[in-house]
């Protein structure tokens, strides 16, 4: 179904898409750092953000805690859960069992969902607005505080992560661990501590994205799953062993999806994303798809 495609409406839609794309990018940042250090894909990663947001909602709404206290406790829970996923499950997967991390984290996805449904409930809830209800009009486009915060946060996080990885000794250690953990360990890098730190930071990123998505939509035990699907798609197209390229793809994916939904109809957004994968695999230069070291941090 088509739409009235006047410039004002399309700009509003693209702005919304840019904001959502930035949320994809921040979540993908968490996926990237984990993959680059531990070579694992965490299916339950979106649910880590859900634990923070649904738990935070419960603490604020049902238990009566001040919202900021609830958000801090929720974020701490996300850090703990994500670290525990690595410590309890991923590290114990024996070498030479490719794909087992997918199965294990898929199980954890279901476990976290069931636990939160039991502990909280199966309903959808409104979350703290976090600025999404305060807005101004800029050039005919309604811009909320939440939108600006999301975009600024993305720029800051990506810049900090990039500088950290390329300009600091910590970044050198991380890259060395990612390249070959055994050699890095022999060179004095505490690989296990680094890995634990990376999973913890990824947990925090999941919590932040979980909060921001919940503030724009609502929160329940499943609301992060469609977000994680798009994040993996961006990672697949951009390459999980690169840094800036997949993050850029994530942002553009949000814009592309919003544009497709606006121009072709609301139900066209998701099919358009999957069509993009096929097109990307078919037309992207083989060199780009195969080259590991290019564009890396």
């Amino acid at each position: 179904m088509g739409a009235d495609t006047s410039a004002g409406g399309l700009t509003q839609v693209l702005w919304g898409g840019l904001t959502v794309g930035c949320l994809y990018a921040v979540l993908l940042l968490g996926v990237l750092i984990v993959f680059q250090v531990s070579k694992s894909i965490n299916f339950a990663y979106g649910q880590v953000g859900m634990v923070a947001a649904l738990g935070g909602w419960y603490l604020a709404s049902a238990a009566g805690l001040p919202i900021w206290s609830a958000l801090i406790i929720g974020a701490a829970a996300a850090v703990l859960v994500n670290s525990a996923i690595d410590f309890v499950a991923i590290r114990r997967i024996p070498e030479g069992r490719p794909g087992l991390d997918l199965v294990v984290t898929l199980g954890l996805f279901l476990l976290l969902t069931a636990v939160m449904q039991q502990l909280v409930d199966a309903n959808s809830h409104t979350f703290a607005s976090l600025g999404s209800d305060t807005s101004t009009v800029v050039g005919g486009v309604v811009v909320s505080v939440n939108d600006v915060f999301v975009i600024a946060l993305t720029l800051v996080l990506v810049t900090v992560a990039h500088l950290l990885l390329t300009r600091t000794s910590l970044g050198t250690s991380l890259r060395a661990s990612a390249e070959d953990a055994t050699i890095a360990s022999a060179a004095g890098v505490n690989v296990l501590r680094l890995r634990t730190g990376v999973w913890a930071v990824a947990g925090l990123l999941a919590a932040v994205v979980g909060y921001l998505v919940a503030s724009r939509l609502s929160v329940d035990a499943f609301y992060m799953t469609p977000i994680l699907v798009k994040v993996f798609i961006a990672g697949m197209i951009g390459g999980l062993d690169r840094f800036l390229a997949p993050l850029l793809v994530a942002v553009l994916l949000g814009v592309y999806e919003a544009g497709a939904a606006f121009l072709l109809g609301a139900s066209a957004g998701t099919p358009a994303v999957f069509l993009l994968i096929i097109v990307a695999l078919a037309v992207m230069p083989r060199r780009f798809m195969n080259e590991r070291s290019e564009v890396r941090a």
Partner: protein, 411 residues
């Protein structure tokens, strides 16, 4: 290196595909059914005994979404049925037998519902299907129930596919979305002139039915209708909100999940658009009003069940009985579950024997049966609709105000 990269990309593809399948499973899909009018188990042999019936017990079953994005409705409906049968069994049961109810989780997924229903019919050997909740998942089991000639009583699965002799084994007790949106739109038009209205509905049978109902009510009125189908799990509602704003619709009608209704209303508010809204009966549930009431002020909603605050003695009796059984206040979905069990029990009471043919005969004898919760229920030889009326309410503050008691579409 190339092989390692290819291997990794294959794993990524598998990861993305797996999550997508999982999401699809949680979100559900739309299935439609067709068929001829033959097939209901209509011959009553009073001496015959159907599957799942012993001297002491009658085994009933159904599937509902007990996990996943639609679990709230399923869990509430299950609780309502269980409370009714618990009370019934304490009072001695029906036909000298207690009721054993088995409810399996279909996660709102038609394929999962089919698998679970097969298990209920073939392994557990249930006598009949008592209620159910969710349209796409229930539509997924309808062809199987038709083949097996298993009666299904009062599932909450509004669809034009059901409630008629295309599927004679399914006895409905709620209007379909065509009727619901016909009546809802008719009410809205009576409130004042409108040049353009919009509908945002779940893509597939649900949204199409709502659209058909609105088109019926708008026929000849010169009011333009914009229909936007939506797929559950939308991550950005700005495109839909912008389309609505640009259309300048006087009214926006909604038939979406609670979460997506809340997400869309947030996006509409974010871009500074404030249309009048009207929505399907799901928005009359306390769980919706409690969470999204602030976003839904003055929303007009269809009412499929009586307000829990109604002075109707039967409604008040239900509230007391439910609280006595569960220790908690009932919700709309508890009401639905309760009335599903009540109608199933009424048919069992009327049955001349405990065969499926006798159960169908008993169901066809139900006429103007008052539950207090639903409009009077009537089925017949060629009538599977049950009811043809909805009420109208409005969300005011954190309350639902009843504007009109049930009104018949006169079909």
């Amino acid at each position: 290196m190339g092989l390692r990269t290819a291997h990794r990309r294959a794993r990524l593809a598998a990861a993305a595909t797996g999550i997508t399948l999982l999401a699809a499973g949680c979100g559900g899909a739309t299935t439609s059914t067709t068929g001829d009018a033959a097939g209901a188990a209509t011959t009553c042999d009073p001496k015959a005994v159907g599957p799942g019936v012993t001297d002491k017990e009658i085994l009933l079953g159904t599937t509902m979404p007990l996990t996943g994005s639609a679990a709230a409705g399923g869990l509430g409906t299950k609780e309502g049925q269980e409370a009714f049968y618990s009370k019934l069994n304490k009072e001695g049961g029906v036909q000298g037998r207690t009721i054993k109810l088995t409810v399996l989780d279909d996660a709102y997924d038609p394929s999962q519902a089919q698998k679970q229903m097969r298990q209920l019919v073939e392994r557990d050997k249930i006598f009949a299907v008592s209620g159910g909740e969710g349209t796409p998942n229930f539509l997924g089991v309808v062809p199987y129930l038709k083949r097996q000639k298993v009666p299904a009583i009062a599932p909450y699965a509004p669809s034009d596919t059901l409630g008629n002799m295309t599927n004679p084994d399914v006895f409905m007790a709620t209007v379909d979305y065509i009727q619901e949106f016909d009546l809802l739109t008719g009410y809205v038009l009576k409130q004042g002139p409108a040049k353009k209205v919009a509908l945002v509905g779940v893509a597939g049978n649900v949204g199409d039915n709502a659209k058909a109902g609105m088109e019926k009510a708008l026929a000849g009125k010169g009011v333009e209708l914009l229909y936007i189908p939506e797929t559950p799990g939308t991550t950005d509602f700005t495109p839909i909100a912008s389309q609505l704003k640009q259309s300048g619709a006087d009214w926006v009608f909604l038939i979406l999940t609670n979460a997506d209704t809340g997400g869309l209303l947030q996006a509409v508010s974010r871009i500074g658009y404030t249309p009048k809204t009207a929505a399907w009966a799901g928005m009359s549930d306390d769980s919706y009003i409690k969470e999204f009431g602030a976003l839904s002020q003055n929303m007009i909603v269809a009412l499929e069940t009586a307000s829990l605050a109604s002075s109707n003695p039967k409604v008040q009796q239900f509230v007391r009985d439910f609280k006595a059984e569960t220790g908690q206040e009932p919700t709309k979905f508890n009401q639905l579950g309760w009335v599903q069990a009540q109608l199933t029990t009424e048919a069992l009471k009327r049955a001349k024997g405990l065969s499926r043919g006798c159960l169908v005969e008993a169901l066809e004898s139900v006429s103007g049966f008052e539950t207090g919760i639903l409009p009077p229920v009537t089925w017949g030889k060629d009538d599977r609709a049950g009811v043809d009326a909805v009420g109208i309410g409005q969300i005011k503050g954190d309350k639902l105000v009843v504007l009109e008691e049930t009104t018949s579409s006169g079909k």
